[in-house]
Amino acid sequence: MKILRRLRGANNEGVLLAVIIVVIVLMAFASPAFFTPGTFFSLARSSLVPLVFALGVLLVMISGGIDVSFPAIAIFAAYTTVEWSSEASFDPTIVGIFAIAIVIGALWGLLNGVVIARFRLPTLIVTLGTQGIIKGILLTYIGSTYISAAKLPDSVAQTGDAHLLDVPGAGYLHGMLVPVVMIVVVIWWMLKYTTFGRSIFAIGGDAEAARRVGIKVVRTQVILYVLVGALAAFGGVIFVILGKNANPQTLVGTELDIIAAVVLGGASIFGGRGSVFGTVLGVVLVQLINNNLVLVGVPSTWQRAAVGILLIVGVSIQALAAMRSRRQPVLVEEEVSKA
């Protein structure tokens, strides 16, 4: 029993891993074309951007909030940087591009953080508002035109072709995997071993208790949103690099899909619970389904419904388990009310 419980993991990561393995096995049986390196390379490639966004969503969710402004921040930061670079015909190298975008993203995150922490407003509604503001400013004042591959700064275009591993005839592993894996590890380490990371969990668990043990709630929240803004910008630049174009109309509208993946990964929407490993698994599972449903003969129109069913089943199991574990005290309460 003990081993089983450990395998299951604190946030049902084990269950999720088992589901992924089952899905992979089923798909491998259904289609011989599935078990090729190409499938896994494209899975890795399509998971990169959602994964970075999901990490940001995870951090906010652990702190007890919901952020829907991250796609707007991402495309704002990436598009603004690339647009400026191509307008000024100045290429600040790929590191420079990332740095500028991250600063822009962090500034938007600061706005989110200050409004949320200072005025103590519901995070969903504040970020809903900032999403509109950010998208509006981007399309009105920065630009609304599509930047094609030819007009992208050279460094961005080159990075788009950087492959980590080339398998002739089977595809390639994209070079952006390296920074994304690094970010995943850094966030994992931060959540597990730093005071800041533990503070986020504490605030999400119980903000009042966190305040009483001496955690500076407002300051932690502001830093958190700055960090999440920076993460979103990072993801936005990777999105531009992978897509080899910059379109200001994209990304916004995908926020609920990312949140769904994070929830599937075992994070609690009430805060205080969630893990980087679970989030990675959640994103991979969603991408696995999105990418390969067609391969096993299910029409692509079923993708959304499939993810929806998966999400509902996932949260139902969690809810039912929570209800069962609470049955004891409820019974006592009922007896008291009878007496």
């Binding site: 005025f119 900032t130 929407i269 009430f270 079923w302 993708q303 419904a305 999400l311 949260v315 809810a319």
Partner: protein
């Protein structure tokens, strides 16, 4: 001056005071509604002054009346879910499925039995759309009240599911065809007022009566205000939530019919920006996202205000993106304003609790979903 005169003066004064008090108490409508009347008047006046020729044009005013109902209905559905401390992210998906149901039923019947038969059955077909909305709402209701999933997660999932099923149903295409009765309603006006707008008003009045005057409405309010108290007053959370989401789905279904009456075609991804817009409308209309407080009047006024801003922006040749900025700024400004006023009132009263409690309650939401 004689004594009599003085008494007369005093009486007159007294009468005047009473009169004023009466007027003031009559003006003092609930929080959301009062503020929205002011905002609506200000925005309307602003655009009327800035560009009277275009904005005050009867055609423009009629357009406001035609465009407002669909988002108004969705906003009302969102308000109802928020009133119990929940949220309904699936409402636009429900509206679309209902529109697709009506459209494809109509097309199927007119292919099978001729256009005449389809027209004669249009009442039933329209009813099927509304029933479909209520049915999908019931799916939400079961997941929330029986299985015990938090509303936001339930509707996040069902949003994907309903939207996904709509995609499967239509194959991702826009399907066309709708009973001509619906199209007639979409175009008809009564003394210059679009019938669609009248439908919104009628639905709003009915909903207001349900929320304020019926036992179930009271239960919905109490469930949102204090689920524990509701439980100990013998209110079944399960039945209350079930009914809330069925009504919410019903409103979504009606919104789907409005989609069709404006434009006889349906698709899975119509109005994808409406989910967020509905939340904006509900909150602007004074709905407390944590439950327990909302007014139908406030939501209807908020719908009108946003529609006035939208068409006013068009009259001033501002873009849809600038409208998005205005929406965001309006939403955050109203929230901050509310919060500051709330805090000031709290500071004035003794025994205010510690600072972070507000965050805690905001974040935790109401745990009212578990029976």
């Amino acid at each position: 001056m004689s004594g009599n005169d003085l008494i007369g003066l005093r009486n007159a004064n007294q009468k005047l005071d009473d009169g004023f008090a009466g007027i003031i108490s009559r003006i003092q409508v609930p929080r959301g509604a009062g503020r929205m009347v002011l905002l609506l008047v200000i925005t309307f006046a602003f655009f009327a002054i800035m560009n009277p020729r275009v904005f005050l044009n009867p055609v423009n005013l009629q357009n406001i009346g035609v465009a407002a109902p669909e988002i108004g209905l969705i906003g009302l559905a969102m308000m109802l879910a928020m009133l119990t401390g929940g949220i309904d992210l699936s409402i636009v998906a429900i509206a679309n499925v209902s529109a697709i149901t009506v459209s494809s039923l109509y097309t199927a019947i007119s292919v099978g039995g001729g256009a005449q038969t389809a027209e004669s059955l249009s009442g039933l077909i329209i009813l099927a759309g509304v029933v479909m909305g209520a049915l999908l709402g019931a799916v939400n209701g079961v997941l929330i009240s029986v299985v015990g999933i938090t509303p936001i997660l339930t509707t996040l999932g069902t949003m994907q599911l309903f939207n996904g099923l709509a995609l499967v149903w239509t194959g991702g295409l826009t399907i066309s065809g709708a009973p001509s009765a619906l199209q007639m309603i979409g175009k008809a006006t009564v003394i210059g007022i679009p019938v669609l707008f009248l439908i919104l008003l009628i639905v709003a009045v009915l909903l207001a009566m349900v929320v304020d005057r019926t036992p179930i409405g009271r239960k919905i309010q109490l469930q949102g205000a204090n689920p524990v108290a509701a439980r100990y007053s013998g209110i079944s959370a399960r039945r209350t939530l079930m009914l809330t989401y069925i009504i919410s789905g019903l409103l979504g279904g009606i919104a789907g019919l409005v989609f069709l009456s404006r434009n006889p075609s349906a698709s899975a991804d119509y109005g994808s920006s409406y989910v967020l817009l509905a939340i904006v409308i509900a909150v602007l209309g004074g709905t407390n996202p944590n439950g327990g407080f909302a007014t139908v009047t406030g939501v209807v006024l908020a719908t009108l205000t946003l529609q006035v801003v939208s068409s006013g922006f068009t009259a001033l040749r501002l873009s849809a993106y600038e409208y998005a900025i205005a929406q965001g700024v309006l939403l955050i400004a109203v929230m901050i304003f509310d919060q500051l006023r709330f805090r000031r009132r709290r500071r004035a009263s003794p025994g205010s609790s510690s600072e972070t409690v507000a965050i805690a309650t905001v974040k935790r939401g109401k745990d009212g979903t578990r029976p």
